[in-house]
Symmetry: C2
Subunit: 267 residues, 2 copies
């Protein structure tokens, strides 16, 4: 499936194209992705990787800039979010804290309700894909929001492609919180959110009309490029979406072009 | 708050009124509720208790009647659901199974995707309030639904009143599954669903026009009585809803009458 991808990327680089890898997966940091790329033999630099966790951390640190000490983030998610918050100097709690990876006990109801289990500095709840989602963390996050904290999400993808099938995505693992709060989806930073595009542009200063978004998922990747008014979008059929979806009459999201595999670009 | 409630119920019984206790809480069975009532000194029989778990079990066993062996239920919830399915002779798995109360491991992705961790007899996923919700059980439930299982819910309350505050309700603990599936809320049996009213009527044959629904929550209890065209609805202000909500202009759900406490009925 990824045959000749390294060669294809080398070819693009040799023609002077700048590459940016954009991922909604919040469980890994940019550094984690660099390691993964190394393992797959794909040449990439940390700076070329843009993840939804990084995008959220940049937004919180550089745009939101909540006044301290109310700028602490309660994390519903994995270490990728924590690493990116750290890289931007944002204080956080929750996340992978082992003391919260446990069953809800009877006294937790009381201690969450009366605030004694809560950190008074928390002003933001940031949710992403959490393989360790549980009732305890959701209850704590819910209480923070009831007390005025803002809810942000790295991304709200309903599903996650894994093992040639689908599993609950970040939007699913934080859906308990969203349902309890009852105010609809939170602001999110994953594709197709243009908050991600703005963050990338803030870093790379590229010409949108001369940029092509390449991806395998219509409702995230391709929509992201269309909404961002990029020069073009290229669907690659090695992943989630099938060509029948965008070739259908009345298809909502239609790429400029498509290839069966990325290496088709080698010609 | 519950002062004189036993006396009030005795008074109603002495006037020949039939009492039915209707609860959306799926974590307890009717037998569990009987025990709770005994502890609170509230006189009640098991047969007078109608819970959303029982209502769902009756629906599955007596109305849906899926042909075996595809009639097994995968439970996302606590023992109350299991007990009521058992009382109706419905086979089930999941639920409080300790082997599913653990973190998702890498091989689980493969074994769920290829079906080797799935029970081929499961034709229904039944979700209720699950204090032990996790990524593993949600992934399994999601896979069952992708393979054609029906999704039913005991109830979809967004929140649960506890410890003088609010916590995620059944609708929240199953929201990850609902979001991943992407088809909206499942059929549910809690108030205000009229599936619950039909189940009660099937058992008690009462005259709706001479029946009063008493409850503390407008969007469940009172709406249930209104939608069921009962003779009247009585809001009790010792719980969730405040009178400002139904006295407001344009209030959506307005009870026939209200009392500050149930014991006001003693006169």
């Amino acid at each position: 499936m990824f045959d000749n991808v390294p060669q294809t990327l080398e070819m693009l680089r040799s023609k002077g194209k700048q590459l940016v890898f954009v991922t909604n997966n919040s469980t890994k940091s940019r550094a984690d992705y660099k390691k993964k790329f190394d393992k797959l033999g794909i040449p990439a630099n940390v700076d070329e990787v843009f993840g939804s966790s990084y995008s959220a951390a940049v937004y919180i640190a550089r745009i939101l800039k909540l006044p301290g000490p109310k700028n602490k983030v309660f994390v519903l998610g994995e270490s990728g979010i924590e690493q990116e918050l750290e890289s931007e100097g944002v204080p956080y709690c929750g996340g992978t804290d082992p003391s919260l990876r446990r069953d809800m006990e009877q006294e937790d109801f009381t201690n969450i309700a009366n605030g004694s289990m809560l950190d008074p500095d928390v002003g933001i709840v940031l949710s992403g894909l959490d393989y360790h989602m549980n009732y305890l963390k959701t209850s704590i996050a819910f209480q923070y929001i009831q007390r005025g904290a803002m809810h942000l999400a790295t991304n709200i993808d309903s599903t996650l492609p894994q093992a040639h099938s689908f599993f609950p995505g970040a939007g699913a693992s934080s859906a308990a919180l969203v349902k309890a709060v009852g105010k609809g989806e939170p602001t999110s930073f994953g594709k197709p959110s243009q908050a991600m595009m703005d963050a990338i542009e803030g870093k790379f200063q590229f010409d949108r009309s001369r940029t092509c978004m390449i991806g395998d998922r219509l409702n995230t990747d391709i929509q992201f490029g269309i909404d961002g008014k990029l020069g073009g979008t290229l669907a690659v059929l090695t992943g989630v979406s099938k060509k029948e979806e965008f070739l259908a009459d009345g298809a909502k999201t239609v790429p400029t072009a498509y290839v069966d595999a990325l290496s088709d670009l080698l010609g």
